[in-house]
């Protein structure tokens, strides 16, 4: 049952500050998360969340790398829009 919670789906690349970053998409049930592979840094896991006003925002999991999550999250949003 729980094995369906974790399915590695796909990979794509975004350009962040002139550097190509590999992004892996992971699904936990209905929750989609994005693993960002950063050269020389610990990988960053980000996801879309809803704030108290039901507006969507990008956040890092675990907490602590919010700015990076927002910057790279926007690039992921652009990539998804382009590939739709």
């Amino acid at each position: 049952m729980a094995s369906s919670l974790f399915n590695e789906e796909q990979e794509f690349t975004v350009i962040y500050k002139d550097t190509p970053l590999k992004i892996q998409v992971h699904s936990f049930g209905n929750d989609k998360t994005y693993l960002v592979l950063l050269p020389g840094q610990a990988p960053l896991m980000i996801t879309r969340a809803k704030d108290a006003n039901s507006s969507r925002f990008w956040t890092s999991i675990p907490e602590g790398r919010q700015n990076l999550a927002e910057e790279i999250g926007e690039l992921i949003t652009d990539h998804i829009r382009k590939t739709l």
Binding site: A2, S3, L5, F6, F28, K50, A52, T59, Q66
Partner: protein, 283 residues
């Protein structure tokens, strides 16, 4: 309201993100489709409040509540724990039954069935947790008829998987209520955190499935109740009230599964048995 990464989010969203954290950091634990209590061989992730904060961490605990080593039954080491849980034969050949603390009956959280202070009372007041789950398993006992038409003593046991369709379809867990306690092996110094799931009277669905005991786990019916159970400064009366809440049968469902489900890759797969009365759905 709570804050995640400095952004104001609802309690439900906070719980979802925290749970996601755990799945990411240690998804192999939740990847196990079946946690079998009576074998006492697995730890299980639970939501445990951080002392002094309205926040929690997700930690692995041993399922099977152990009282403090200086309280009855004064368990000093793992051998004594094992004997207490599973039962044993003493030097004179006398058998001592095992004592199960996988569950804590909500009715006996403070005063036990003999009218004495319960071993769970301090944990119920001070150490309450939530146990995420995607479903659980119980046996339905059906009468067997002998060749002469008589009802046999042995029953036909059919296993069932019980779940909340809304949660299962969305891939989100639901939360059972529990209590925890720490125990230290006085010989090796091994420190363990152990828990019991609180139980309540079965609802109309569970009365059909778990018909030998008519019990079911206490399940959080809302995020506010989950929050209150974790962080509330509650009176005994309120603790009992919450632990006794019966999750509505109409939001639950169950299907029969393979009798060898414990050995199955996916123990939740539906299996139909001829001559077994279908369950009656609550309105």
């Amino acid at each position: 309201m709570c804050y995640y990464n400095g952004v104001k989010v609802t309690r439900a969203e906070y719980l979802r993100l925290k749970h996601l954290e755990k799945l990411i950091s240690d998804y192999s634990i939740l990847d196990k489709p079946l946690v079998e209590g009576p074998l006492y061989n697995m730890k299980y992730p639970v939501l445990k409040p951080i002392t002094g904060k309205e926040d929690f961490e997700i930690v692995d605990m041993e399922w099977g509540f152990l009282p403090n080593e200086n309280e009855w039954p004064f368990l000093k080491n793992r051998l004594e724990v094992d004997r207490w849980r599973r039962g044993y034969t003493d030097e004179t050949g006398r058998w001592h039954n095992g004592y199960t603390t996988l569950n804590a009956m909500s009715e006996y959280l403070f005063v036990n069935e003999k009218g004495r202070p319960s071993m769970f009372r301090k944990a119920a007041m001070e150490r309450r947790i939530l146990i995420p789950s995607t479903g659980f398993f119980e046996w339905r006992h059906l009468p067997q008829i002998g060749k002469k038409g008589q009802v046999l003593k042995a029953t036909n046991k059919i296993p069932y998987f019980i779940y909340l369709p809304e949660n299962l379809n969305s891939g989100n867990p639901f939360y059972m209520l529990g209590i925890w306690n720490s125990w230290t092996d006085s010989e090796t110094g091994e420190y363990s955190e152990t828990f019991a799931i609180t139980t309540t009277e079965a609802n109309s669905l569970m009365r059909q499935v778990h018909n030998s005991k008519n019990r079911m786990p206490s399940i959080s019916v809302s995020e506010d109740i989950a929050w209150e159970w974790l962080f509330g400064k509650l009176s005994k009366e309120r603790i009992l009230e919450i632990a006794k809440i019966q999750f509505p049968a109409g939001k639950m469902w169950a299907h029969s599964i393979d009798k060898k489900f414990k050995e199955s890759v996916d123990p939740t797969l539906p299996v139909e048995y001829p001559d077994v009365e279908p369950l009656i759905k609550a309105a």
